[in-house]
Amino acid sequence: MPHEELRESVPVLTFPRQTLVSLFVFAVVWEALSHLAPYLGIPPFAIPSFVRIAKSVATITPIDIIVTLARVIAALIASFLLGLAVAMAMYRSESLDKYLHPMIRLLMAVPVVSWILFAVLWFPGVEFRIGFVLVIVCGPVFLIDTLDAMHGVPRELRHMMQSFRPTTWQYFFKLMLPAIVPTIFTSWKVNISLAIRVVTIAELVGAVTGIGHQLSVAQELFSVADVFAWTLVLVALLFLLEAVVARVETRVLRWRV
């Protein structure tokens, strides 16, 4: 079997021996460094031991996880609906597409930090600021992905559907939407990762709840153990959300070969 095929046959989110070995080596090196830090001239707080990190994990407040998760999910749903609606309008109207496409490319080129600063300067409400930043960053990704997928629906299927004379809504909901579902799932996976990273930065500025806020507190307290613990939570959250999407994807796309 060619090498490429072998590599593709390894299922996602499983832990092959190599992964476990590399994680174990990392943990051993980290733990050793945490004990050797004083002898190496590294401040003791910089590389906390796993016992210290475990203590930080134990103090994690679930409400902050729930708040961040709620912000991410709400913003992703809003971004998806907005992106899909605008993509549908752009697909229908060539002139709208020509006017909006450059604008969207421009929005996508703006760095996240700039959006956060704009949000702080423009809006007084913290929740609105965070929501705005997430939607302005994730919305265009959904939009471009779904629009590209709509243009990629095979001409033969579009022709067949049109021959049966559907209404505009029927055309979208019975052909275009189901046809682009695989792309929608891919876009969700990309956006989950993006949203987790963006929400953390957005919460650093002005929020009094959420993982980003807790990371900010940990930074003020010079607690690397707390930063490590919250980072672990973020990574776990990302894997959890991706696993949920992957599960739904398998169920929804069971028609695929």
């Binding site: 022709h159 021959s163 004379r165 052909l175 046809a179 028609w255």
Partner: protein, 268 residues
């Protein structure tokens, strides 16, 4: 019960402008054709003669550049929505929606015309049964053979019991045995349904075996011959085939097509 309306094509022209060169290409040049209700008409012609353009004009997806197509008093393009559920199509490839089961594919046109869900289910199931797919209603397209998929596509077209059935090379990609079997089924169902059927094909055997009439298109869909197959006796089908072949090759009507009876006598 009112039958399907007649189809009248008058002075039909279709010109396309090529996007790259800006040149105009005449796809159909002044076509006149009348198709009576419940007729089964086979349209034959060489590749690039405008058969598929005629198909798109009949569906109503393209507008004529000049002239008109009328089905009864309505135009399939100008009165596009009127023909929802009245015109159905079968294509060369099955064009089934891969995310829908055979049953859900067959009921698609019924959903589009707003038939109640229970009735959709019953009608689609009944057509799949008639096409020999009773045990495959829940199968996805990728789980079916090419012939079975085309049967689902035929069931989808018949599900609305349309006035006009249009088939574009619908059996051309299948093996001869499957194609012959499907042709017979298609013809039988079209007769039972009382639909007018227009089949576009490049296979003369298919045209002769299925059509009440064979319309031969020359270049730019110029009408070279309009043959009523009933005027030809079965033993003379070979001659008919030769005459159509010669018409297509020379792009001029073969004299043998003018009066088949004379030709038969002469041969004797």
């Amino acid at each position: 019960m009112s039958g399907p309306p007649p189809i009248k094509v008058r002075g039909l022209r279709k010109i396309f402008r090529q996007t790259t060169t800006g040149q105009s290409v005449i796809a159909i040049e002044r076509l006149d054709l009348t198709i009576s209700p419940r007729e089964v008409v086979a349209i034959v012609g060489q590749t690039g003669c405008g058969k598929s353009t005629f198909f798109d004009l009949m569906i109503g997806l393209e507008a004529p550049t000049e002239g008109s197509i009328h089905i009864g008093a309505k135009s399939p393009h100008a009165d596009f929505d009127y023909f929802r559920g009245r015109i159905a199509t079968v294509f060369q490839q099955d064009r089934l929606l891969p995310w829908r089961s055979a049953l859900d594919n067959a009921r698609l046109p019924l959903e589009l015309i707003g038939v109640p869900e229970e009735e959709q289910h019953e009608r689609a199931l009944s057509w799949l049964n008639r096409l020999g797919l009773a045990h495959f209603t829940n199968a996805y397209p990728h789980e079916l053979s090419g012939g079975m998929r085309q049967r689902v596509a035929i069931a989808r077209a018949f599900a609305v019991e349309p006035d006009i059935l249009l088939a574009d090379e619908a059996f051309g990609h299948l093996d001869e045995v499957t194609a012959a079997e499907l042709r017979d089924t298609f013809l039988k169902l079209a007769r039972e349904c009382g639909s007018t059927a227009i089949l576009i094909t490049h296979q003369l055997e298919e045209a002769i075996s299925i059509g009440d009439r064979i319309v031969v298109f020359g270049k730019s869909a110029k009408l070279l011959a309009d043959i009523h197959v009933a005027q030809w006796s079965k033993p003379n089908y070979g001659l008919l085939r030769e005459a159509i072949q010669s018409t297509l090759q020379s792009d001029r009507p073969d004299p043998r097509l003018k009066d088949p009876r004379t030709e038969t006598k002469r041969k004797k």
